[in-house]
Amino acid sequence: MGKLVGVWYGLAAIVLTIIWFVVSQIVDLPIIPSPVKVVENLADIFMQYIAIHSLYSLLRILAGLVLAVAIGLPMGVLMGYFPATDKFLAPIVYLTYPVPKIALLPILMLLFGVGELSKIVMIFLIIVFQVVVAVRDGIRAIPTETYYPLYSLGASFKDIFFEVLWPASLPKFITAIRVALATAISVLFFTETFGTQYGMGYFIMDAWLRVNYLEMYSGIVVLSLLGLVLFTTIDFIEKYTCDWQYKN
């Protein structure tokens, strides 16, 4: 079945490329270049110009993600497992969750400078809430009886965490990261148009200002592929670590 899924994805890629090609031929303007030309251009300039930008973008995403997990996961566990903590923290989380994080960018840039830190904090802010809420809800959904055999064995909190809390909330945790990453990538694009000379956002906007549409499209393709790689990696991790969910 795994191979078949690959075939379908390949077909979808071909279909999308054909649509792109047809549209480019009909419109016949430099703003929509043919995919063939874009791929040719990409092959020419990727190692020389784009690779370093994509690496910057990837590292910013990973740094924000690691930070969000490091803070969001313990918070979600505390809120999900200890109702007293939840009573205290839930209002704070719920009042700050709906604030559109991108609107905070000017403040973040004033606080953390226009460099790396404000960009990473931005991504962190977007992912962390999703992680907290998902982990908390995942733990809350565990039936109380699940803990009984462990409690009666005198299990420590460490045991409870690794045997129950972590594996039970892992699927929701991974889903949250998948959802949040999509937003994080688009926000990253936006933040990379400020105060940096590196990153896919900078590359794409720079190409646009230079009216070099081939390079701009090359950048868009790379940014999309970056997202695709992240998603498939997450899917792969989920399939591997949560395989019990798919058995019935």
Partner: protein, 254 residues
Amino acid sequence: MINIENLSVKYKSDSDIYTALSGINLTIPDGGTLAVIGPSGCGKSTLLKVIAGLITEYDGKIHINGEELNPKKQTIGFMPQNYGLLPWRTVYDNIRLGMKIKRAPELLDRKMLKKLMRQLGIEGLGHRYPTELSGGQQQRVALARVFALQPDVLLMDEPFSALDAITREEMQDIFLRLWHRFNVSTILVTHYVEEALYLGQRIAILSANSGDISTILDNPLFGGKDIRQKPEFFEMSLRLRTTIKKDWKQAWEN
């Protein structure tokens, strides 16, 4: 040896105090079995939860092998009604879970574990997940888990109630075989008179709403060969039923 002295449990809500158990006295000798029988809501599960260390607010004394009850010190094997298997762990990991938590990998070597699984007829299922198993198979895994621990006390909450009648009788036989081999002091809670008669060396009847034990009787039929087919078994279960009904009726009238 398990010693329960004057055990009482009260649940407090905002406006009310509800007595779930009152003045329970019980002794289970080493390697003995006790069946507690009672209607729904009589506090059977509460009794088991207290001994399992899940309810810590109680009055009275509980001693296991002369020591005060403490899940960290004693090994308590608790088998909940729904088997208590972790859906994200394979059968093999589920069985080993208890040993892992007790930090006692030496308790059962692989060979012993394999043998235990073979005796329970689950040797080929080690890498499956609980959701891939039938109810009867899950029950066997749960039994393997508690017996692999060689606990000081084994607690079973309505152990075989979710199984169909034929599978239930089969599981009862399997339980008795393992119990004979490992000699584990066992308390089981049930609402089936036949199950209490078949598995309990002694049978305690919990009152319907006062939360105390009205009768404790020694079960002369326990351990006999094929007793389920014998007329004495029917007679005894009939007598037990009458006692229980009378007791519960009395309880309601009070």
